[in-house]
């Protein structure tokens, strides 16, 4: 009876609608396992747990809160766990120090809310033009969004504050403008003499330049050296991509051993399983569920992975939708590559022309993109 509503049994949710996927997520059936069943292995490190409990126990001084937030943001970077960013954000709540604002901008940036991030950084730099971190973060965001001129300005403004950082920053812009030789010279110089964290960054960027030039062996070397100077998830994913491009899925798998299961990592594991002829269905199901959960939360930061996943599953139209949404938010070479590949698969001349115009405007050179664009042009 209508007045005696009880929890209805979950019906099997079907179809690709958000609601159906949501229901599927909430309808998995619950059980009471045995006491010794291991139910979770992906726990926050004890240090992080202690941080959070201490942070929530009493409101600490701003300096202390900023220091803890910084540790959490760094931990999130190395583990790929976005929950740590949420903890950091809560610690920074209502703080107006320059460092707090920059950290908040970093968190916004990592959620791909670039405008909010830039607004925070503008505030800091208006107050304190010599804030190197704010300058560098703003340069990075400008580059991600494809505003290379703005990126170059901020990188140059860094020179008197931190010469080596400025050099790497400028080299990244040069690399995105097709000036590969210039970029590599600067990066190799920092890699040879710079301190460890910066060396890792320079080598990883050098690896990207080599990939764009089609020199995969050099890319392998650069990424491996980068990882030798410091653990980094992004570089590991890049390394796995090169192994896959060389058709060495076993090595790609080794590069991702024990890596946190981010969307990017899951996508690669799925590719590797398919390449090796293994059963890739569970990974595909997990990715689908993951992307649906992110979409249900209204998050956009998974579109690049969603685009490739759709494309490689043969849904060109869906891939192009994702690629376009992604392109509207960010314009790194990897985003141009996705747009080109999706446009080619969906036979969308307009999207392809957009990529060509982008290459012409920025001077970006990338053999992978050029191959896709040319193949389509011939078709």
């Amino acid at each position: 009876m209508d007045r005696f509503i009880r929890m209805r049994r979950c019906r099997r949710a079907r179809g690709g609608t958000l609601l159906a996927l949501m229901l599927a997520a909430t309808c998995a059936s619950a059980q009471a396992p045995a006491r010794d069943t291991v139910v979770e292995t992906q726990l926050a490190p004890p240090a992080v747990k202690a941080q959070i409990r201490r942070a929530s126990a009493a409101a600490a001084a701003p300096r202390e809160r900023i220091a803890r937030a910084r540790l959490l943001v760094e931990a999130s970077r190395s583990t790929g766990d976005p929950r740590l960013l949420g903890y950091a954000e809560a610690l920074l709540d209502a703080l107006d120090d320059a460092d707090a604002l920059v950290l908040r901008a970093t968190i916004e940036q990592s959620r791909h809310r670039f405008e909010a991030a830039v607004a925070l950084l503008d505030r800091v730099l208006n107050r304190e033009p010599s804030h190197a971190q704010a300058r560098l973060t703003r340069a990075t965001i400008a580059q991600v969004r494809g505003d290379l001129a703005a990126a170059r300005r901020d990188c140059a403004a860094l020179a008197p504050l931190a010469a080596a950082v400025s050099a790497v920053c400028t080299a990244a812009v040069d690399a995105a403008s097709g000036r590969h030789a210039l970029a590599l010279a600067a990066l190799e110089s920092v890699a040879a003499r710079g301190p460890a964290p910066l060396r890792g960054w320079a080598l990883s960027l050098a690896g990207e330049v080599h990939e764009r030039s089609g020199d995969l062996d050099a890319a392998l070397r650069a990424y491996s050296e980068s990882l030798a100077s410091g653990e980094d998830l992004y570089t590991r994913v890049a390394l796995a991509d090169v192994w896959l491009a060389l058709d060495r899925p076993q090595q790609a798998r080794a590069a991702l051993t024990d890596a946190a299961a981010t969307d990017a990592v899951l996508l690669r594991r799925w590719r590797i399983a398919r390449r090796l002829g293994e059963d890739a269905a569970p990974l595909a199901a997990q990715l689908t569920e993951r992307l649906a959960a992110a979409a249900a939360r209204g998050e956009l930061l998974h579109v690049r992975e969603a685009g490739w996943f759709a494309l490689e599953r043969g849904d060109a139209a869906q891939a192009l939708r994702h690629a376009r949404a992604n392109w509207a938010a960010q314009r790194e070479p990897a985003d141009a590559l996705l747009l080109a590949a999706a446009a080619r698969a969906a036979r969308d001349a307009a999207a392809l022309a957009e990529v060509r115009a982008w290459l012409a405007r920025t001077g970006l050179r990338d053999v992978r993109i050029e191959r896709v664009v040319a193949a389509n042009g011939a078709a």
Binding site: R3, I5, M7, R8, L85, L103, T140, P197
Partner: protein
Amino acid sequence: MRKLLLALLAWLPAIAAAHSASTAYLRVEPDERGAAIEWRVALRDLDVLLDLDADGDGRLTWGEVVDRADAIEALARERLALHAGETPCALRLAPLRYVRLDDFGFAQLEGRADCAGTKLALRYRLFEGIDASHRALLVVAGEAAPRIVAPGASVHLRGRADGDAPRSPGAFVSEGIGHILGGFDHVLFLIGLMLPAVVRREGGRWVARDDLRAAATSVVWIATAFTIAHSLTLAAATLGGLRVSPRIIEPLIAATVLATALNNLWPVVTRRLALVAFGFGLIHGFGFAEVLAPLELPRTELALALAAFNAGVEIGQLAIVATGFALLAALRRWAGYPRWVLVPGSALLALVACIWIVERVLDLSILAT
């Protein structure tokens, strides 16, 4: 060196496509006595708040989780605050269960929030001040899309939020129609009353009534008496605040169906059926009131809503009575009517009514809804 540490941070955007942020899943089905709830919280999140990993080995066993069941339930009571108006709901929880979603372990808390009030709201406070990116995906029964709830947010589950536009009288008319047509107990009660209207008792046997006019008159009287009675109690309940708990009224409504059906099988009351309809109508009116009460309307609006809702109930009722009577009138001369319609129909009614009584007294679900 600070600047170099900072340079590390700047590198962040590239890895941004991270895996899932902290998400809990919450299903709520509000009803008159509160709500049924189902809450799924990631074990890794509970571990951050409650340090479930007792042996600190970085792995959680189910034993480690259930040993802290009290703390988890206390957290739910504190952070999942359902309340009706100003009154907090009492949370009754079933034993913890485990479910795996997206490769993460979740604790599932199921139970009931008891509070008989009208406006039902939720203040969601898990991770408030701790994880600014935590979200609950809230599915409320009957709503098309899930809601995304941030820590610290208040959510209306039932009853009118202050900002909502007042509903039109037309909406209450259709609510009334929908309620009588959708509420099987009212329909079956009316059918039970009408079944013997086209026949009469003669020497211990049912015979067809030749005078269709008299049969129609008797049905009209029955329906009118029922209407007047339930309108009276509906008005008394909504305007006068006269309330009887659904725990009493719901089984009583089922009992009226049973009594009517039994009276068709073994007639005790054969005259003045309209009086019986009046008495039983009083009971049904309290049932109707439970539909309007949760809307918690202001008084002026309430009178109008009440009139519109009642009009809707009458329209629905008229449709049932007219259709039913036309059918019965066509069947009344058929010799098999008492044997194949009246008796088995009433027996079926009696059986359904018995099941309802058991369901409603014991709060079980026997018949599928």
